[in-house]
């Protein structure tokens, strides 16, 4: 009886692994057309992070490494913007990336990256680089 219980558990475990393996392989094969809008479900190697990565590549051209960057995105809700900020931080490890909307008052973030069509209006900022989806701003020098 005990061996039977273990045998059934093993069969079930094997079935579980095969199910997850085949699902993962099928998803992996579709990764280039993987369309999950919400950034909490993005995965490495899928189009959405790749789109953000293209924006990030612009940043590295004009912002010195080690700078603090405030990251603004056009996510529809706070949760989306939070996870887009985390993705940006992952893709910009050489920078201190802060969330634009949670920047402490008076905090001197000398650069702002606005991604996904979000508009950042602040008289203290000047645009230093623009691409269709990615704008880089710098705090105006006095």
């Amino acid at each position: 009886m005990r061996r039977l219980i273990l045998g059934i558990a093993l069969l079930w475990g094997g079935f579980g692994l095969l199910t997850e393996m085949s699902r993962a392989l099928a998803e992996h094969d579709r990764r280039e057309s993987w369309a999950v809008g919400r950034p909490e479900y993005w995965r490495l190697g899928t189009p959405e992070p790749a789109r953000l990565e293209r924006c990030i590549a612009e940043v590295a051209k004009v912002v010195p490494a080690g700078s603090t960057i405030a990251f603004a995105s056009a996510g529809p809700d706070r949760s989306s913007r939070f996870f887009e900020w985390r993705w940006a931080a992952y893709l910009l490890p050489a920078y201190d990336v802060a969330p634009w909307e949670d920047l402490p008052p008076g905090w001197p973030a000398p650069y702002v990256v606005a991604w996904g069509g979000v508009r950042v209006r602040d008289p203290k900022l000047e645009r230093v680089r623009i691409s269709p989806e990615c704008k880089v701003y710098r705090v105006r020098r006095p």
Binding site: R2, L10, W12, G16, L17, R31, P93
Partner: protein, 440 residues
């Protein structure tokens, strides 16, 4: 996928494991898993020391000390007791376990099954520490980093950073390989546990496969490559052989090192370290009728050496988060229960998460009681946090319990196999074990 990243992970691991085995062998331990954990804990202590004295990490500083330990230990320390070798002929359960390990690891190397937390904090920390050549406390202490667990112990990102330093770049597959290594160690720990329990061939084979198949399924389906939960699961299983046999000198050290490894890995590992130490101390006290200072030292020193610097650094840099704990609110019980019921139906677990309900039954079985106590205390602690943390309780349970369960389910499954094989221990073995002279 970069061969340099993979070679760096493997090379660093083998160097630390071999050096660690020499050190744990000097403490009387024959366990290869415990030896590997000793090496990883020693690595953590080394980089913690370098950070404390303000020395930036370099290849030489990371490689020379373990190599020196290896050379000096080979020359001056006694050889480690002969541990059990891998069987020359693999059984059907070993084959299934290796298949599960291969499936999980190969998918992990593609990063397709990488945990979202690798992007949100583990990977960023590792990459940042690589660039900073040390744990970057100024970065962690930024006011906007409260949501990325700046207070977590850092062994995993330290290993990521060291791997990148050796490889010359931060390569994701090299980082993912660490999870495969921890999975392999977990399976080796299961084999050592079943051997310690005196399991027969069928139960040995069934036990290792019973852990490997669901672990690989959850690791793949629930996206757990690069997650530190593997390390906590490994710590519990690594302590199991010592918790199954009567307390002895080697066992004190093995439990102490498992506790230290847990405390270095993730914040849940800190209470786990405490539970491992408490349960083993209680067993020592019961067996000896007194507390031997040497045993206390072997047991407490490793986790203290890891935990105290972590706490000091976290306090110094103001990293501890107010969201970790708050007042106990019994009114959350209904919310927590309904969320837990939802988590028990997480598809990737295929029902194996229900093993979290087994510890009360395992407590009745003398042979595995110590293990059951450790996992019960850990699960109760998880519940306590749900009742106290000042965050959205339902979201908290839904987003964390499937992973927290993963930390204890492998140990519960192994304990269940042992209990199934030995359902009614003779009365003479009250306490679960035949009394042997206690060493040290």
């Amino acid at each position: 996928m970069s061969p340099a990243g993979l070679l760096a992970s493997l090379g660093l691991f083998f160097l630390l494991a071999v050096a660690g085995r020499r050190l744990s062998g000097a403490a009387g331990s024959a366990s290869r898993v415990s030896g590997a954990l000793t090496g990883l804990v020693a690595f953590h202590l080394l980089v913690t020391f370098l950070d404390a004295v303000g020395v930036r990490w370099s290849r030489a500083l990371l490689l020379v000390p373990p190599a020196l330990v290896l050379i000096l230990a080979s020359r001056y320390l006694p050889r480690p007791p002969a541990g059990a070798r891998l069987p020359s002929r693999l059984g059907w359960g070993d084959g299934l376990a290796l298949f599960a390990l291969a499936v999980f690891t190969l998918l992990a190397l593609t990063a397709w099954t990488a945990t979202p937390d690798f992007v949100f904090h583990w990977g960023v920390k590792g990459h940042r520490f690589f660039l900073a050549r040390g744990v970057d406390y100024a970065y962690l202490a930024q006011p906007w980093h409260g949501t990325i667990h700046p207070d977590y112990p850092n062994l995993m990102p330290e290993l990521f950073a060291a791997t990148a330093l050796l490889a010359g770049r931060f390569d994701v597959s090299g980082m993912m390989l660490w999870t495969g290594i921890f999975f392999a160690l977990l399976l080796a720990g299961v084999c050592e546990t079943l051997r310690e329990a005196g399991s027969g061939p069928f139960y040995r084979q069934a036990g290792v496969a019973l852990v490997a198949l669901p672990a690989a399924a959850v690791g793949t389906g629930y996206l757990m490559a690069g997650a530190a939960d593997w390390m906590i699961a490994l710590a519990v299983v690594a302590a199991m052989p010592a918790l199954l046999r009567p307390p002895d000198r080697a066992g004190d050290f093995e439990v102490g090192v498992a506790a230290a490894f847990a405390a270095a890995s993730k914040i849940e590992g800190v209470p786990l370290a405490g539970f491992l130490v408490l349960v083993h101390l209680a067993r020592r006290l019961r067996a000896d009728r007194r507390l031997d200072p040497g045993a206390v030292l072997r047991l407490v020193l490793p986790p203290a050496a890891v935990g105290l610097p972590w706490l000091a650094r976290a306090l110094h840099h103001g990293l501890l988060q107010s969201t970790n704990s708050g007042g106990f609110e019994i009114s959350r019980a209904g919310l927590i229960a309904s969320a837990l019921l939802e988590v028990l139906r997480v598809p990737a677990w295929h029902g194996f998460i229900l093993a979290v309900l087994l510890p009360p039954l395992l407590l009745l079985h003398a042979r595995v009681r110590a293990v059951a106590m450790v996992v019960s205390l850990q699960l109760l602690f998880d519940l306590y946090v749900y009742f106290t943390a000042p965050v959205d309780t339902r979201f908290y349970v839904l987003s964390s319990f499937a992973r927290l369960a993963f930390q204890v389910v492998p140990a519960i499954l192994v304990a269940t196999v042992v209990a199934l094989e030995h359902p009614a221990p003779p009365k003479a073995k009250a306490g679960g074990v035949t009394r042997r002279p206690v060493q040290g």
